[in-house]
Symmetry: C2
Subunit: 300 residues, 2 copies
């Protein structure tokens, strides 16, 4: 479909710029680029591993088109014959537990009945929450949002709190960020505006991580911190396989499994009823895995 076609070619170029910026930030590893094509469409899976800072990262672009199934009709409450979709999706798992996991996704969905919408978000999952970092991260997102619409940040921040949430653990995945889905532009001007917003988010993503890497790359860590990282990574796995809409949609619609699951951490650990010691930094992080925290004004 036409709009998807146009946006796909923009996202595809953007993917390359993002990869280069992350390579520059890491300073050692480069992305392996794996093009794929299936009946459904095609994409480019970019994977980095064993860098200076980045232990494993995936940065995927895809452009697919297919039958709008009865199941999709039921989920979305709309009727159509075909859909097309394009998006960029990325996750970075650092080696150093003092550096956070980050995730970004922007996507565009179009039906042959004329309906179309954007979805996406960015969120930060620190193994150890540093309030200054969380505040700066949210401020950065706030500034991008406000270039477009004052209502974006409060609305999409609250949405992220709800979405990046592990019900079965009663905890948020990390310090959140912004999330939005099924945002339907009223007209072509609004569509271009929102497209620009998603491009800004995608461009900001490697820059945000560049700054974090730059600041924290030389921080020393202990084996105990590494173990805590693996336990937090276990939670990340739980979120991705139980809740993540992109993962679910991808696996169920017959997407490219290895590209979808490149989001999995390199290693994850599960220990029965693991509880960090009261007052420890791990404990403090756990206490901050809550919805509704105003990170813009968090007291340090």
């Amino acid at each position: 479909m036409q709009k998807t076609q146009k946006i796909a070619s923009i996202y595809q170029k953007l993917q390359q710029q993002m990869c280069r910026q992350l390579e520059k930030g890491d300073g050692k590893a480069t992305f392996l680029e794996v093009p794929w094509s299936k009946e459904l469409g095609s994409g480019l899976t970019c994977v980095m591993k064993n860098g200076n800072v980045i232990e494993k990262a995936g940065l995927n672009f895809s452009h697919v088109e297919g039958e709008f199934t009865p199941k999709m009709e039921a989920i979305l409450g709309m009727k159509a014959k075909r859909y097309s979709a394009t998006g960029i999706s990325s996750i970075i798992h650092p080696n150093n537990p003092l550096i956070p996991i980050i995730h970004m996704n922007v996507r565009f969905f179009e039906l042959d009945n004329g309906t179309c919408w954007f979805g996406g978000g960015i969120d930060l999952t620190p193994h150890y929450i540093h309030k200054e970092e969380a505040q700066w991260f949210h401020q950065t997102l706030f500034d991008i949002c406000n270039k477009y619409d004052d209502s974006f940040y409060p609305k999409y921040k609250a949405w992220a709190d709800d979405y990046f949430y592990l019900n079965h653990r009663n905890e948020t995945r990390g310090v959140g960020g912004i999330f939005f889905d099924r945002v339907q532009p009223e007209n072509d001007t609004k569509l271009d505006e929102f497209l620009n917003f998603t491009m800004d988010l995608a461009s900001a993503y490697p820059n945000i991580y560049y700054d974090i890497m730059d600041k924290k790359r030389d921080l020393k860590f202990t084996p105990a911190q590494k173990q805590w990282q693996n336990i937090r990574r276990g939670r990340y796995v739980e979120f991705n396989l139980i809740h993540d809409r992109g993962t679910k949609f991808g696996l169920e619609s017959g997407g490219n499994t290895e590209s979808i699951l490149v989001s999995m951490p390199p290693l994850a650990e599960w220990e029965y009823d693991y509880q960090p010691e009261k007052g420890s930094t791990e404990y403090e992080t756990q206490q901050l895995l809550k919805k509704g925290i105003n990170w813009l004004n968090i007291s340090k």
Copy 2:
């Protein structure tokens, strides 16, 4: 409900015997017993870790009763006001990659409209498939099934092939075993018979693992084999969080998260597009992760 009550007290005793037998087999670690109770019901979570052979095991008993929700009505296609359920569920993750993961579950479900059924199964997930072991395992299940009904093994073996299957990977979880669900006994005699069948399965489970441990406990392994184990454990995580009905039902119905997720391996690894070298033992195992293999007559 009455039937559930009776079966729960039988299963509860059985759990203790199973724990003792596994402790004897491991020879070092003992089960930590954690009783829990929630609004929904209660249970006993038994957890073992860092044994001679067993790195992590969970062996849970639970007995719950609750409202039969519209969602359950939709899934099961039945109307009722309340349900009760009891079961034993266990998974063992060994330290040695040459020793298989094993899983067992028996459960009984009763509605206040009089309907009741059994579900359950046993399956073996070797990190390295040894054909003799798979054959012996299936023969053991075949013999138990045939004590009750000649149709059980072929029916439940095929069911296990279908159930313990990762669609998104096009591979079985391991060498399968038997699986059954919603087996409704026609009358009280049949109910007692099927109850005995599930008790036989539950009793056989620690004995099967006892024999495997006995035979393989001293086998030496390499770091490369340990890495392959972690990759296979990653697949186990994928199955449990994406497909496993017990896990889904448990987490969605507000069950005890730590007890449910005690099934997670201690450690798991994901490497993008990992492919074992052609002709390696890892490759051979991967080639055998297929439905429909007649393990009883597999050529060695």
